[in-house]
C-alpha cells in the first residue's frame, strides 16, 4: 500500500511522467515515427503542400472530434453528429439551390443544428437514458430526413459557396484556420471557463456535482447545444469542400471522431483526458491515412490499420489502470 502510494506521488509530481500517463507523449512519439517512415519511403510526405493537404483533410473530422471530446469529458457522447452534419449540408444545399441567399441558408442551418443538439441533450438529461442509444436512434432520424429532403439523390452546389472549403489565406487553406480556431475555443472553454470546469466536474462525478449545487441537466443540455452548433459549422465546411452533398456524406464521421478522441486518451469514464490529446489523435489518423496513400497501401488494408490503431490506443490508455490493481 505505502509503496504504491509513493510511486503514484512521484509520478504525479514528475511532469515527464504525467506527460506520458496522459498518452500525449506516446502520441507525439508515434506521430514522429510514422512521419519518419513515410518520409523515408516517399520524401514528398514532408512537403509543405502535403502537410497542408493533410490538415485540410482532417479539418472536418477535427472539428467534430472536439465536439465528441468535450461531450466525453462530461461523461456523454453523441454519435449522431456525423449524420447531423450531413443533414446540415443537405438543408443548406437545398436552400441555396431553391434560390435562398447563402447568408440566410447559413443562419438557418446553424440554428437547426443547435436545436438538434439541444434536443439530444434534453432527451438524454430529462429521461436519464444512455447517450449511446439515444444518439444512435437520432442518427438514423437525421439520416432519414436527409434522404427525404434529397429524395435519395446527391446534390451539387454547382460551384457556389466554395469560400469556406477551398479559399486560402496566403498558402494556408481557410478550413485549417477554422479547425485551429475551434480547437483553441474548445481548449479555452475546457480549461479557462467556469462552465468548462463544471462540465469537467460533472464528467468526473455526476452525483457529487449534483450535491455540490451544480445544475447538471442545464450544463449538459447546453453542451449538446454547443456541440450541435459546432457540428453545423463542420457540416458547412464539409459541403463547401466537396462542392456537393449526399444524405450519407457525414455518416462515417461520428465513429471516426469517437475513435480519434479515444486514440487521444479521452475515455468513456469522463472527467479526464486532454483536448490536445484529441487534437493529436485526429492528426495521427490524418497522417496515417496520408502516409498509407502516398506509400500506396490499398484502402482495404488502411481500414484494418485504422481499426488496429484504435484497439492499441485503448489498450495503452488502460495500462495505468492495470497497474493500480
Amino acid at each position: 500500500m505505502s509503496d504504491k502510494k509513493t510511486r503514484m506521488k512521484s509520478s504525479a509530481s514528475n511532469p515527464f511522467h504525467s506527460w506520458f500517463r496522459s498518452q500525449t507523449g506516446y502520441l507525439i512519439l508515434v506521430i514522429i515515427a510514422v512521419s519518419v517512415i513515410a518520409t523515408i519511403l516517399n520524401p514528398r510526405f514532408l512537403s509543405a503542400r502535403n502537410i497542408f493537404n493533410i490538415m485540410q483533410q482532417i479539418s472536418v473530422l477535427g472539428i467534430l472530434t472536439m465536439c465528441m471530446a468535450l461531450l466525453m469529458i462530461s461523461g456523454n457522447l453523441d454519435i449522431s453528429i456525423g449524420n447531423m452534419a450531413g443533414l446540415v449540408g443537405m438543408m443548406f444545399t437545398r436552400m441555396v439551390l431553391t434560390g435562398r441567399s447563402q447568408g440566410l441558408a447559413v443562419i438557418t442551418v446553424m440554428i437547426l443544428s443547435t436545436v438538434l443538439g439541444l434536443i439530444n441533450g434534453l432527451i438524454i438529461s430529462k429521461s436519464k437514458t444512455t447517450p449511446l442509444i439515444i444518439t444512435l436512434g437520432m442518427s438514423y432520424v437525421f439520416y432519414g430526413i436527409s434522404l427525404i429532403i434529397s429524395n435519395g439523390r446527391p446534390h451539387s452546389l454547382g460551384g457556389q459557396f466554395e469560400f469556406l472549403g477551398r479559399a486560402k489565406i496566403g498558402p494556408v487553406p481557410i478550413t485549417i484556420l477554422i479547425y485551429i480556431f475551434i480547437f483553441a475555443l474548445a481548449y479555452l472553454l475546457r480549461k479557462y471557463t467556469t462552465y468548462g470546469r463544471r462540465i469537467n466536474a460533472i464528467g468526473g462525478n455526476k452525483e457529487a456535482a449534483f450535491l455540490s449545487g451544480i445544475n447538471v441537466d442545464r450544463h449538459i443540455i447546453a453542451l449538446y447545444g454547443i456541440s450541435g452548433m459546432t457540428t453545423g459549422l463542420a457540416g458547412l465546411v464539409l459541403t463547401s469542400r466537396l462542392g456537393m452533398v449526399r444524405a450519407d456524406s457525414g455518416s462515417n464521421y461520428a465513429l471516426q471522431a469517437l475513435a480519434a478522441a479515444i486514440i487521444g486518451g479521452i475515455t468513456f469514464e469522463g472527467g479526464r483526458g486532454s483536448l490536445v490529446g484529441a487534437f493529436l489523435g485526429v492528426l495521427l489518423l490524418g497522417i496515417m491515412y496520408n502516409a498509407m496513400n502516398i506509400i500506396g497501401v490499398s484502402s482495404y488494408l488502411q481500414t484494418i490499420f485504422l481499426g488496429s490503431v484504435i484497439v492499441i490506443a485503448t489498450v495503452i490508455s488502460n495500462i495505468g489502470n492495470l497497474k493500480k490493481q
Binding site: K5, M8, K9, A12, S13, K191, Y192, T193, T194, Y195, R197, R198, N200, A201, G204, N205, E207, A208, A209, F210, L211, S212, G213, I214, N215, G271, R272
Partner: protein, 498 residues
C-alpha cells in the same frame, strides 16, 4: 443439558486498524434462538461471517457436532447445515420467486430442462408451510422489499438448515410482517434447528430470544440465559455502554445562539411519521442512528436531493424548503456525504478545483483565474493542515482523512452556515479524527451550525450539544445536556419500552 450444535472458543479476528472480535466465545443449542445484539461495529456481522465460512478467524476454534475446526470454508459451513440470510443478499431479479428459491438445487432440472411444475409446487408448499402469502410465479424484481426478504428467507429454509443465521431480518418490515418472521423463527426452532438472530429491536428480542449475547467493541459483555422480559430490557442497553474515557474527545464549550434552521413535518413517504427538529446558531446537533435507520435519507431530503412527501425547511424563520441541491447551496446549506469517494469528491480533479467547485463564480467571472484559485486553495490547505504535495495534486492520491478535509474545505470556501455532515470520521485514523473534531468545534464557535450524523457513540456524545436519535426514519428521542449518555442513545436505537 443437551450438547451445543455450535460452540466457538476464543475467536479473534482483526482487520487493519481494528479488532473486530476479541476472544469471543459462543454456544448454540438445538432448538434455541440466540440473539446477538450490539452497535454497528460491535462484531456481530464479523462473527456470523466466520460462522458461515466467509472470514477465517486469526485464532480460536469452532466446534460443530463435536468436531473442531480452525476455520470453515463456505462449502464446509453449508455442508454442515449452516445457512445464513445476510442483510445485503442479492437474488436474481428477472426470474420468478420459485426459481430463485430453488436456484442451483436438483429439483430444478429434469435432465437438461427446467422442471417448472415441481419448482412452483414445492415453492408454494414451502411458503404455505411457513404461513407466507406469496405468488411464487411472480418475478423477483416485481416484489416489494418485504416480499423480497421473505423470498430470501424461504430460499434459505428450502435448504432445511440445521443452523439458521439471520442478520437483521426485519429491517424492511412493518409490525405485521415482523410477527410473521418471528413465527417462522419459532417454528423452525421448534423442529430442533438452532437460530442465530442479529437484532436491533427490543420488542423482537423480548418475543423470540431464548438467550441473548451482548457485544461491545468485539467483546462479549453479557449473556442472558432463558430470554428476557420487558422489565429487564433496560439492562441490555446498560451492558452495551461503559466505554473507557480515552475514547471521548474533550470539546471546548462555547455559547449557542438562537434557532437558525427548522425542519417541520418532514415525511419521506406517505406512511412515515413526520420529523420535526431544529438547530441553533453555533450548535452541533448529533443525529444518532444506525445504518439503515433513514438518517442519510433525512439529510438528503432536507437538502432537496431526494423527493419528499411533505415537509418544510425554515432558515431564520423564512421558508427556504429547497427543491434541489442548487437551492439548498444557495441558502447556505451544505451536505457532506457519507461515502465521499462515491458522491463527495471529484477524484480525478486536483485539490484546488475540488475546493472551489461549489463557488466558482465568487472568484472568477466567466474565465478562470488560476493563480487566485491556487492561492485560495493554498490558504485552506495550510489552515486545515491538508497533506498534499501541492494544490494541483489529484485528490485520489490523498489519504482518507485528507480527502475528508478537502470536502470540508469546499463547503467552508462556499461559506455555508449549516453543515450536514454524514459519518464525518468514517474510515479515517485517530489523529485525523481529532483534527476534524477540533475543526468542527472551531466552526461552531464561529457561529456555524452543524448537524452531525453518526453511528459512532463516542463521537456523538463528545461532540453534540444536543442529540436526536433516528430509528426507522423517525425521531425516536431527543436528548440534551446530561441526558446525552450511551444508555439513552441505545435505548433510542432499540425503541421499545423507553
Amino acid at each position: 443439558m443437551k450438547e451445543p450444535i455450535v460452540k466457538s472458543i476464543n475467536i479473534t479476528k482483526s482487520f487493519p486498524g481494528t479488532i473486530a472480535l476479541d476472544q469471543f466465545c459462543f454456544e448454540l443449542f438445538p432448538g434455541e434462538v440466540h440473539c446477538l445484539i450490539g452497535e454497528n461495529g460491535a462484531g456481530k456481522s464479523t462473527f456470523i461471517k466466520i460462522l458461515s465460512g466467509v472470514y477465517s478467524p486469526d485464532s480460536g476454534e469452532i466446534i460443530i457436532d463435536k468436531k473442531r475446526y480452525d476455520n470453515l470454508s463456505t462449502q464446509l459451513a453449508r455442508g454442515m447445515g449452516i445457512h445464513t440470510v445476510y442483510q445485503d443478499d442479492v437474488l436474481v431479479p428477472h426470474i420468478s420467486v420459485a426459481e430463485n428459491i430453488y436456484l442451483g438445487s436438483k429439483d430444478m432440472r429434469k435432465r437438461f430442462f427446467m422442471n417448472y411444475q415441481t419448482v412452483y409446487k414445492n415453492a408454494e408448499t414451502l411458503a404455505r408451510h411457513y404461513g407466507i402469502d406469496l405468488n411464487v410465479k411472480e418475478l423477483y424484481e416485481n416484489l416489494n422489499p418485504a416480499d423480497q426478504q421473505f423470498t430470501k428467507i424461504l430460499k434459505t429454509l428450502a435448504q432445511s438448515p440445521k443452523i439458521l443465521v439471520l442478520d437483521e431480518p426485519t429491517q424492511v418490515f412493518n409490525v405485521f410482517e415482523t410477527d410473521l418472521i418471528l413465527n417462522i423463527v419459532k417454528k423452525v426452532s421448534s423442529t430442533g434447528t438452532g437460530v442465530v438472530y442479529i437484532a436491533h429491536d427490543l420488542d423482537e428480542i423480548i418475543k423470540v430470544a431464548r438467550r441473548i449475547t451482548v457485544l461491545r467493541d468485539g467483546r462479549k459483555v453479557a449473556v442472558y440465559d432463558g430470554g428476557i422480559n420487558e422489565l429487564e430490557s433496560s439492562l441490555l442497553a446498560k451492558d452495551m455502554v461503559g466505554r473507557p474515557v480515552e475514547l471521548f474527545y474533550k470539546k471546548k464549550k462555547h455559547n449557542i445562539g438562537d434557532t437558525v434552521l427548522e425542519v417541520k413535518n418532514l415525511k419521506l413517504g406517505s406512511t412515515s411519521k413526520p420529523i420535526d427538529f431544529s438547530v441553533r446558531k453555533g450548535e452541533i446537533l448529533g443525529m444518532a442512528g444506525l445504518k439503515g435507520s433513514g438518517r442519510s435519507a433525512i439529510a438528503r431530503a432536507i437538502f432537496g436531493a431526494i423527493d419528499r412527501y411533505s415537509g418544510q425547511v425554515l432558515y431564520e424563520g423564512n421558508n427556504i424548503t429547497p427543491k434541489n441541491p442548487i437551492e439548498a447551496v444557495r441558502h447556505g446549506l451544505a451536505y457532506l456525504t457519507e461515502d465521499k469517494k462515491a458522491d463527495g469528491l471529484f477524484l480525478s480533479m486536483p485539490v484546488d478545483q475540488n475546493i472551489t467547485i461549489v463557488g466558482l463564480s465568487s472568484i472568477h467571472r466567466s474565465l478562470i483565474k488560476m493563480k487566485r484559485e491556487r492561492d485560495i486553495a493554498g490558504n485552506f490547505i495550510s489552515r486545515m493542515k491538508i497533506k498534499t504535495t501541492d494544490p494541483g495534486q489529484e485528490v485520489q492520491y490523498l489519504s482518507g482523512g485528507n480527502q475528508q478535509k478537502v470536502v470540508i474545505a469546499k463547503w467552508l470556501f462556499r461559506d455555508a452556515n449549516i453543515l450536514i455532515v454524514d459519518e464525518p470520521t468514517h474510515g479515517i485514523d485517530v489523529n485525523a479524527k481529532t483534527e476534524v473534531y477540533e475543526l468542527f468545534t472551531e466552526l461552531a464557535a464561529e457561529g456555524k451550525s452543524i448537524i452531525m450524523i453518526s453511528s459512532e457513540m463516542p463521537e456523538i456524545i463528545s461532540m453534540s450539544d444536543r442529540v436526536i436519535v433516528i430509528r426507522k426514519c423517525e425521531v425516536s428521542s431527543e436528548l440534551s445536556g446530561d441526558e446525552i449518555t450511551e444508555h439513552n442513545i441505545l435505548a433510542g436505537y432499540l425503541g421499545g419500552t423507553n
